[in-house]
């Protein structure tokens, strides 16, 4: 009975639905963000140098971008509609603030992406070369702006600023027109945005480098003289380009992640305490490599720890080996005290002491580690690849080629764990309380919502269950086709486009078709 009641709990189902949609959507998004920029740069290099390699690269990765873009757009629509469908109480409560960034995202970013992508696909040879180059740059700008606005909305859920609670309407409302400015200057947004964008570059760099390393080593090893030539002229420069993005993206991802983490220690101490499995307030908190179990709400005990490094958690959080870090128990205590001092919380939710404010311990702890751990693949790929290519060498190592391919899905999974960590760590809140505002008695002090209170009450759990199952199945089917198509295009390589064995006149048509991406 317990399993059945959990299975039909609308909040659990609603969260699974959102989780599945988000993680799926965000497997596709980083590649779209990074690849549109990478293709724009490739086409620019071709435009400037006239070097055919970069035209080939533009076409090759351009097609992969298009296959990916379609599914990204498709899953993005669900994302927007889900707020109203499954989380109508949330939408009622926050719509005054939360809806605007979504609307701006559509107006400022989606139109740009989709209109200019259409122009890029069908505009080869139809508009001037310069104008055509501009279209792909506008697509790249659009995808990045899109991330900016959706992260403005998400950062607000992590740390609500620019809002006040209005007891007369029972809603969170924008704190004057200036409140909108506060959304955009949310301290969480700066590091979240830079972290997401740079990790998109890291993922894309790995994607490009992984594919081209595989091709380079294969061609050079098994392709005969022509293969060696192709490896040197085509795949080596693209590999170097991809690894360059990995290095830049990797350094920025690590840096922005570090500062984002430090900020989270300040603004969402419960999330970081759970991520580091720190149970009680500790001076010189240790970094734990692996932990099993969760921190108790009071008293001793806690998870089983494997390998701890003293002082490192404190160092990462506060730049000092001996600083005091808030533990899960301290964070719970702090929340109970602050919330009970807030008349609006007490009026709506009752005594805060009856609630358990701990996020799910294991998903939070492990998703944090897996997010960081998967980045090691990109680092290793960069070191190995750059070493193997030093001084103009063309590597032929089978292992290196395989490792390049393996790194690609691993990095995608890493990005998903990043989102699982961000969203799971915020539980049980859908809008996390703004601790700073509460401590200072600012007007935004009463803006928060527990996840359970955000669900749609007019949607029967059975309907959510049905749609959850059907969405998952649909996503699985489309995901398989997506992977298969991407793989097929990767295997097609860079020279063989559209020239089947049955095309006797393939070479004559080649010039006309060379630039065609169309339907």
């Amino acid at each position: 009975m317990d399993i059945l009641s959990t299975a039909l709990d609308p909040v659990v189902l609603g969260r699974w639905q959102f989780g599945v949609t988000t993680v799926y959507h965000f497997i596709l998004v980083p590649l779209t963000i990074g690849l549109s920029l990478a293709v724009a740069i490739m086409q620019t290099i071709w435009h400037k140098t006239g070097n055919e390699t970069w035209l080939k690269a533009t076409r090759f990765f351009g097609k992969l971008l298009l296959i990916n873009f379609a599914l990204g757009v498709a899953t993005g629509i669900v994302q927007e509609f889900q707020f109203g469908m499954n989380w109508s109480e949330y939408s009622r409560y926050v719509g005054d603030i939360f809806g605007a960034p979504l609307a701006v995202e559509a107006l400022l970013a989606f139109f740009l992406e989709s209109t200019f992508l259409g122009l890029w696909i069908f505009g080869w040879g139809r508009i001037s070369k310069k104008l055509h180059l501009a279209t792909i740059w506008l697509v790249a700008i659009g995808t990045t702006l899109s991330a900016l606005w959706i992260l403005t909305a998400n950062s607000w859920m992590q740390h609500p600023v620019g809002a006040v609670f209005n007891p007369a309407t029972g809603r969170a409302e924008l704190d004057g027109v200036g409140g909108f400015g506060a959304l955009l200057t949310n301290p969480v947004l700066l590091w979240t945005f830079t972290h997401v964008i740079s990790s998109a570059w890291l993922i894309t760099g790995t994607f490009i480098a992984g594919i081209s390393i595989w091709w380079m080593t294969r061609s050079a090893r098994d392709g005969g003289e022509a293969g060696v030539k192709e490896a040197r002229q085509v795949w080596r420069p693209i590999t170097a380009f991809g690894l360059g993005i990995v290095v830049v993206g990797g350094v920025l991802t690590a840096g922005t992640g570090h500062f984002q983490g430090q900020e989270m220690v300040e603004l969402q101490p419960m999330k970081m305490a759970t991520a580091e499995a720190i149970c009680v307030d500790t001076e010189g908190a240790a970094f734990t490599v692996a932990a099993f179990g969760e921190c108790p709400l009071d008293g001793d005990g806690g998870p089983m720890r494997i390998i701890t490094v003293p002082g490192v958690a404190s160092l990462m959080a506060s730049n000092s080996f001996t600083s005091e870090e808030m533990g899960v128990q301290g964070a719970q205590q702090q929340l109970v005290e602050l919330l009970n001092a807030d008349p609006n919380f007490v009026a709506k939710y009752g005594d805060a002491a009856q609630y358990d404010f701990r996020p799910p311990a294991m998903p939070t702890f492990w998703s944090f580690r897996l997010m960081i751990g998967t980045a090691a693949f990109a680092a290793l790929l960069a070191i190995w690849g750059l070493w193997a290519m030093r001084g103009g060498r063309i590597p032929t190592s089978r292992g290196l080629g395989r490792f390049g391919i393996i790194s690609i899905p691993v990095l995608f999974i890493g990005a998903s764990f990043g989102w699982i960590f961000t969203e799971m760590g915020r539980q049980p809140w859908v809008v996390s309380p703004n601790l700073m505002a509460m401590q200072n008695g600012d007007p935004g002090a009463s803006v928060f919502q527990m996840t359970e209170m955000g669900i749609s009450t007019s949607v029967p759990a059975a309907q959510t269950l049905i749609t959850l199952i059907l969405f998952t199945v649909l996503y699985a089917v489309l995901g398989v086709i997506w992977v298969w198509l991407m793989r097929r295009y990767v295997l097609e390589g860079i020279d063989g486009d559209q020239q089947g064995p049955d095309d006797s006149n393939a070479n004559e048509e080649d010039s006309a078709q060379a630039l065609s991406f169309g339907y």
Binding site: A100, L119, F180, M453, L478, E509
Partner: protein, 385 residues
């Protein structure tokens, strides 16, 4: 005029632009196999919307986002109330996107035909659902006002008596929810609305195809458009008159109604092969859609959601809207951005203004499913060379 009323009109405008633009995309989708008898002709049909359909669809996202921002309570009531219908629409929109984008990624007729069928089903399904949804706005839905309270850490809803609704609004503890269930959305009137919108889109799409193609595809499109536009006039007349007489509280709803009627009749006239002015037909069809959407919104005014249970349970514009500061921000954003969007959208239509013909279709778009290029036989896969 209050900003909330301006935004009510703007939301109607966003839906209008969406239905005018994506309306012909759906119509083209419905007619792929009707106007396209050969594979190349089917590619011609899809190519007419190729560069534009994605941008057209963004108007839906904009309309949704603007409803969320300007009328969060409307957005919440509507989207949760029409849960399964919207789910179905999302599924169809998802597969439609992949059907269009992926159809020519492989050089295989079976692959392309399969995706075309997916596209066709989606192109029929979405307008049908949209029509049922808009008819529900006109007719009113089984909506009740409820009071959300937190009991033992979970959310509980209790229905508020109609007389107590004003008091509940005064203290803010109120939510409007559909309580009639999924099947309450379907009545003879709403089903007729679904079929009407489907017919409108088909006629609109046929006129667009006639405008954008050459040769036999164009001839067939003209024929379909001539019939579909007449059927549309008949269906729309019944639906709109029924709605206006049975459900509309506003007499001035007759103004957009008459505009829509005149425009659709003119579209049908211009669509006849003897007259054959596809440009005029398309323009009047667009005006007809705009008039119909305007009429739907007049039947709701001054509410955004009408309750068929009790007028007190209807969700008024004034209560459903966001606060003044949010609406000011939204207005500034819209005034700055919408003109820019319109300029480059129009430019993209200008760039691809040429009619699409069979000659302009690539002989072999896409790559072979399992062919591997010569000298690359180290790869897995078949190599016939």
């Amino acid at each position: 005029m209050a900003l909330s009323i301006i935004w009510f009109i703007l939301i109607a405008l966003l839906w209008t632009v969406y239905l005018v633009l994506e309306g012909f995309d759906f119509g083209v989708g419905m007619l792929i196999r009707v106007v396209g008898k050969t594979p190349d002709e089917r590619s011609v049909a899809v190519r007419t919307i190729g560069p534009h359909w994605d941008g057209n669809e963004v108007w839906l996202l904009t309309a949704g986002g603007a409803m969320f921002a300007a009328f969060p309570l409307w957005y919440a009531t509507m989207f949760s109330g029409m849960y399964l219908a919207l789910f179905l629409m999302l599924v169809l929109l998802i597969v439609r996107i992949t059907a269009i984008e992926w159809r020519s990624k492989l050089k295989s007729q079976r692959w392309r035909d399969t995706w075309d069928w997916v596209h066709i089903v989606a192109a029929y399904g979405v307008p049908l659902i949209l029509g049922v949804a808009f008819s529900n706005f006109v007719q009113g839905m089984k909506i009740e006002a409820q009071a959300p309270t937190v009991v033992d850490g979970s959310l509980v809803m209790t229905t508020i008596a109609p007389a107590d609704v004003p008091a509940a609004m005064a203290n803010g503890n109120i939510a409007f929810n559909l309580t009639g269930g999924f099947f309450s959305l379907f009545t003879p009137f709403t089903l007729l609305g679904g079929i009407t919108v489907l017919a409108v889109c088909m006629a609109h799409g046929a006129q667009f195809l006639a405008l954008k193609t050459e040769g036999e595809v164009r001839e067939r499109s003209v024929k379909v458009g001539a019939v579909a536009s007449v059927v549309t006039v008949a269906l729309a007349a019944i639906w709109v008159l029924w709605g206006q007489l049975a459900y509309s509280p506003n007499a001035w709803g007759w103004i957009p109604l008459v505009i829509a009627a005149v425009a659709l009749v003119l579209a049908a006239v211009y669509a006849q092969p003897k007259v054959q002015r596809e440009g005029m037909a398309f323009i009047f069809s667009s005006v007809g859609i705009a008039g119909a959407v305007a009429w739907v919104f007049t039947t709701m005014f001054p509410n955004v959601m009408v309750s068929s249970i009790d007028p007190a349970y209807s969700l008024p514009i004034s209560w459903a809207s966001s606060t003044e500061p949010t609406l000011i921000v939204m207005t500034v954003v819209a005034v700055l951005l919408v003109p820019i969007v319109l300029v480059y959208t129009i430019w993209s239509y200008w760039v691809f203004r040429k009619r699409v013909s069979v000659d302009s279709i690539d002989a072999n778009p896409g790559i072979l499913p399992d062919w591997i290029r010569p000298k690359a036989n180290f790869l897995t896969g078949k190599n016939p060379m």
